[in-house]
Symmetry: C2
Subunit: 473 residues, 2 copies
């Protein structure tokens, strides 16, 4: 299910490389079926394509050694963080080796004065923030799942704080990677700014393991704000909610988070979290700054919202009250699942210019009603990015086909609005068929030229981002 690129297996190469790797790494080369399946794709309807083996490297040098062995025998290598990706990034359509980074999870250096940190890619974002707690600093990218930072970099992840702090592309100062040639690349110095040659850091971020394996990251940190305020407000329409966001930005309001729940999602949250919010579009906001600043900002937003028909505006700076106010958002996923117990939740991911967001979400709601699909909507509305959570009975192929049809329709709609088929989940296998439609043959051809230049044998995560039609090995 789901169109997936067919990539041919190199049986002899895989067998030979596995022999050599087993001699070198012994117990750390695992071949049990359950573990292999767990290292293929498991989170959506994309078919599980397990690797032939899973290896747990401990250092950049070991990764280099493993890559060299695999390169010699033309065996695919797929990096694995926590397996939370949604578009089949960790699948092994041509078999090969999964490199599981769970044993490369050291925090190597904390530079508090420079507000940066050097880590191994297996560190998860929650582990990093726990480690940083006493420094007054934090890492702001929050994609929901407690993903590994290597995986977040590889997929250019973002989440609720992106509107203020940017995405992974803005939060990585430099990285170290092993290329298919076995060469170790350092992409940048630790300075906060550089004009030194091609931006290899940004090229690796979002390359989904298809150009090389990230083995070290230097991340930019933020100061924990002195104060935080939270606010919520209901709106009579999606358009009114989106206009409140647009007006706030034009006003220069430094929003830290601004999330949208549509009426169905609010209804689900009312039932699940025992709330009594109006069943109408809801915005949830957070401001970071000084005590007086976050109060002032929340008040200004309240005025803007009021002028645009917002009702029930509430804000607070007290932590326990903030959590209550945001409860609908925190529980949104679990609340949504309760709309149809037993169904699997499949998350879509498009992003459009803010001026088109209300129109896009409205059309999406109409399409879902027409198709009879239950699917509440949550949006990182400050970026124009939103997700529908499709509640799908995975035992019914017709229903899956209908849902897949909808995903394609939504991707086309976003693209027609000068938007993208993926704001933060990445291309992987699931979105590969929309990439050329979105960016044109020129861009896909340029990506293929880069891929061929760096990975001529196509051993780095083959079958992701670029379809075989792009002329890869």
């Amino acid at each position: 299910m789901g169109l997936q690129a067919v990539v041919e297996r190199n049986e002899d190469g895989i067998a030979t490389a596995l022999d050599i790797l087993t001699q070198a790494y012994g117990d750390r080369v695992e071949r049990g079926q359950a573990l292999r399946e767990q290292h293929g794709h498991t989170t959506t309807w994309l078919r599980n394509q397990p690797p032939d083996a899973v290896i747990f490297p401990k250092s950049t040098e070991e990764v280099q050694d493993i890559v060299r062995i695999c390169a010699t025998h033309r065996v695919p290598i797929i990096a694995f963080g926590t397996g939370t990706s949604l578009e089949g990034h960790v699948n092994a359509p041509a078999g090969g080796i999964s490199l599981d980074f769970s044993q490369m999870d050291a925090i190597l250096e904390v530079h508090a004065e420079d507000m940066d940190v050097v880590i191994q890619p297996g560190v998860t974002r929650k582990a990093l923030n726990a480690h940083l707690r006493d420094t007054g600093l934090f890492f702001p990218i929050d994609p929901g799942a407690d993903a590994s930072l290597g995986g977040m970099a590889a997929t250019r992840a973002s989440g609720t704080c992106a509107v203020r702090y940017g995405t992974m592309k803005d939060s990585v100062l430099a990285l170290k990677a092993v290329l298919p040639s076995g060469e170790i690349v350092k992409t940048a110095a630790r300075a906060r700014k550089t004009s030194a040659g091609y931006d290899l850091t940004r090229l690796m971020i979002g390359s989904e393991g298809t150009l090389g394996i990230i083995t070290e990251l230097t991340l930019k940190l933020q100061g924990i704000p002195e104060a935080t305020s939270a606010a919520t407000c209901s709106f009579p329409s999606l358009e009114a909610a989106c206009n409140a966001v647009i007006t706030s930005f034009q006003y220069g309001l430094p929003v830290a988070r601004i999330e949208l729940l549509n009426a169905l999602q609010v209804k689900a949250c009312n039932a699940y979290s025992k709330l009594s919010l109006p069943e109408a579009p809801l915005l949830l906001l957070e401001f970071h700054g000084s005590e007086s600043g976050v109060t002032e900002q929340a008040e200004i937003f309240g005025e803007i919202a009021g002028e645009l028909g917002g009702t029930g505006y509430t804000f607070t700076t007290r932590e326990e009250d903030r959590n209550k106010l945001w409860q609908a958002r925190h529980d949104a996923y679990w609340a949504a699942l309760q709309l149809r117990p037993g169904a699997q939740g499949i998350s879509t991911d498009v992003c459009v210019p803010l001026s088109r967001l209300a129109e896009c979400v409205t059309a999406t709601e109409a399409k879902l009603a027409e198709l009879g699909i239950t699917a509440p909507i949550v949006g990182h509305v400050g970026d124009g990015n939103f997700h529908t959570l499709l509640l799908v009975d995975m035992s019914d192929p017709a229903e899956i086909a209908k849902a897949e049809g909808y995903v394609g329709w939504l991707a086309e709609l976003a693209i027609s609005m000068d938007g993208t088929c993926t704001g933060e989940h990445g291309i992987g296998q699931g979105k590969a068929k929309y990439l050329e439609r979105e960016l044109g043959a020129g861009a896909v051809g340029m990506m293929a030229a880069i891929k061929r230049g760096i990975d001529p044998d196509n051993i780095m995560n083959p079958g992701k981002i670029l379809l075989p039609a792009a002329g890869l090995a």
Copy 2:
């Protein structure tokens, strides 16, 4: 003077291409010597290497046509904005065609709701901001010179506002470029966030015209802040000044600009602008936000500065007073030149982690004293980026050689501190010899692989960023 890559001329190809281009573009193909020299490098001691002709394209399609003609005959193509680059980016070491973008200076679309704008690359930053004046929006990147935005993108420029608003890499949403193949590439949709494949936008930004010719840019805009405050403070030492910056960031103070003048630069400004500042390191700051916010922020900085020995702290929110307070910074370049009338000012550009900045600037001052070079220092201190303005008698080869030796020494020093040989001026010809020392053979090899993959005949701005040793055509 200055090590410059030797790249071979293709006489026959240039002659043939020029015939074809002249037939197609008539008067817009200019070959006068003065104009050609003006389109070579003119701003430092790097030797002027004029192109064989200058063409003034009017559209992406014309650029495509010119690139195709040049590609067929293997003739170099060099994009030209306003010629303000400092590292020889516009030189034509192997001859070829300079594409002057002064006639592609249209502002194509202003999307006020999305806070973005679509422009042709010949638009300068001042022209853009003049055009935007009535929208309440502005484009924040300010490198000093009124450079073209195409050139600023190509060199990953930044300047005084980068500490708050980022550099060109953070301000370009998408771009259109013509590749050496003649293919037109659109790098991204207009959405504010995307995970759709390789980050071609960031790859083109800072590629200095070596991968393709930028013909359109979609830029992110910012809301003009409701209020601005300005402040200045003297410090007993560079270390105290840098510690004030570090403390402010850790506190989460949203500084919009924070500039450093060293004691010699302050002395020059006192003489030139008739000021009476203490001849000691001076910080100049700007805060953007609400009326009460910018006052609060300026007051907090005053407290931090006071604790670290800062003296003469002054701040204001009134526009005319702000200009007075920043006068030393605005006049810094002209004031510096008056330290040695008749000498040419040559600007260096390194960037180090903030924790090393005081040490780096202190060592730099000592080295300049040892060498007897007059060279005041101005720094974008929030980014760890600083410039020394070497005042050089260009008629004295020994003096130029000494200054060049110093530039190399400074690049090595910055690199040894995990910094970069260029924070914002780019590599061009002048810094090419330091790139491998900074990033290693792996990174330079990866850049060369990308270059070969996209521009196998090396017709796009040859001899820049990568030295011939990188194995280019």
